[in-house]
Symmetry: C2
Subunit: 153 residues, 2 copies
């Protein structure tokens, strides 16, 4: 049976950060990514809700958690794609890529993460970081599939 891994772009907070344009663009990248792997957005009221969701899937493999964190690891798009590909090859069912609350992640959340990812040394608005992450998820899918999107840039 074909193994599908699901990609989830998660945010913490009452609503998706940013206005309509940010939401539209992030959604567009997730739609494009879905041509390669099922991809969707998911919101959590609080960090605690996210952590509970990450642990709730009893009897199934727990989702892999990737948290955006300014103190995290910087990766090239190729390395990021490679990391996602390894999780897939290890049989992961879901990867949740999460943009944190305005106050940042707690130590508990950081310990739970399989990867703390930094998008670079510049500070970005949450909505923009989420959009960059959405594009990187789509780009990773194209890299893993050998699709020409990435080589075009």
């Amino acid at each position: 049976m074909l193994h599908f891994m699901e990609l989830i772009l998660a945010h913490v907070g009452a609503r998706i950060p940013g206005g309509d344009e940010f939401r539209t663009l992030s959604e567009l990248y997730l739609q494009r990514a879905s041509a390669f792997m099922p991809s969707e957005a998911m919101g959590f009221r609080s960090e605690q809700n996210l952590l509970e969701w990450l642990e709730r899937k009893s009897g199934r493999m727990l989702p892999v958690a990737v948290l955006l964190d300014s103190r995290g690891r910087q990766m090239t798009s190729e390395a990021f794609a490679g990391w996602i590909g390894e999780r897939r090859d290890q049989g992961a069912r879901q990867i949740a890529f999460a943009v944190g609350p305005a106050s940042g992640w707690s130590d508990e959340a950081r310990r739970r993460a399989q990867l703390l990812l930094s998008l670079g040394p510049m500070t970005m608005a949450h909505a923009l970081a989420r959009l960059v992450l959405a594009e990187q998820i789509y780009r990773a899918c194209t890299i893993l599939a050998g699709h020409p999107y990435h080589s075009g840039h």
Copy 2:
């Protein structure tokens, strides 16, 4: 007399990269930046047109050129703001921040630049890199002005 330095978000190519949403968001950040320093978008048909424009202002101080380049220097938002502030304090009249052609910058353009700036190790779509740059320009303005936007993130 108060010295105003103008900030220009330049792109090379027949049209602004990305769809309406990218244009709207970039424009929004430039509008916000204009509360601190005059800021506007400018398009150049080709790299050569940009280089000619950079040299054309005879009798006046030439614009400072900052080119986005994956081989460039990574900076924090604070360092980027500090760099802009130094140019202003040295009497620069204009800084042109430019996103390159799809094929990348020529050696000539790289030599002309005062700063080659990298947004980080990940490859981004041109439209997205332009938006990130617009936000960093706004953020730099707020950092230089002591406005709370930056400390909120």
